[in-house]
Symmetry: C2
Subunit: 154 residues, 2 copies
């Protein structure tokens, strides 16, 4: 198997092809991962998401450094993964951030599956506050594995 680094363009393509990723945050050195639905803003950069206020949001408010991992795994020899190192930015419901909220809304509506976690209720039917957030991208890397045809024994 050969592993290739993806170009920035290939990383962007991968982010645009899906809207499911795994978001990692950390508190006092303890990482925490949750699957999320996201929208990638290819034109202006950044990733947008929605979340109820739970452990993930509480941790990201305390430590803005996050990681978003997106992958496409067919089998052990054919897989691709893109990793974003970025910073959590909560978009407030204020006149100052109206444009950013509008941008998020526009991107969310483009998604095939428009998923509003505000609609999700825990079994107790308790309602939770919802936040709109943006992940500012500091760095993207990607890798792709492909079968090394000339060396099938590997």
């Amino acid at each position: 198997m050969l592993i290739h680094e993806l170009t920035p363009m290939q990383c962007a393509d991968a982010l645009q092809r899906t809207n499911i990723g795994r978001l990692g945050c950390s508190k006092d050195g303890q990482p925490y991962i949750v699957p999320i639905l996201f929208s990638f803003d290819r034109e202006r950069g950044g990733v947008y998401g929605l979340s109820t206020v739970g452990q993930k949001v509480q941790w990201m408010r305390e430590n803005l450094l996050v990681c978003l991992e997106v992958d496409d795994i067919h089998d052990k020899n054919h897989w691709q993964t893109v990793v974003i190192f970025g910073r959590y930015e909560e978009i407030q419901d204020s006149p100052k951030e109206a444009e950013a909220r509008q941008r998020a809304q526009t991107l969310f509506e483009r998604r095939s599956e428009w998923w509003l976690p505000a609609a999700a209720k825990v079994a107790s039917r308790e309602r939770h506050a919802v936040v709109v957030y943006r992940i500012h991208i500091d760095r993207i890397t990607g890798r792709r594995a492909a079968r090394d045809v000339g060396r099938a024994a590997d």
Copy 2:
């Protein structure tokens, strides 16, 4: 949509049904996520994996606290996620740890896809050292979402 907490038994079932997860580590507050193949040791506890020595292993050697996330996502209304908070333990190639290595080997061989990343080569064909590691499980949580049939408007 209703979200239910999984029981410890349901979490263990989920870990046994797959061997693909996303492993999170962190360094200086920066989380990092990579997809991994793992083997869950239901009988004795813990999760075993293999890795070449790269950024992930270097970070876990510095900070033992890790997170393993395993999920099964059908659509926005039907998904399940299990999160392990644990500690990285590298299993050395020493007589003292021979039993742990043997245990890892036994578990790896039970996997449907026996994946030895040592066989993976970067495009330059450079070979990397491989480590066997165990994730000691400190805590497992799991959640499952299901359509709230009585409230289709949600």
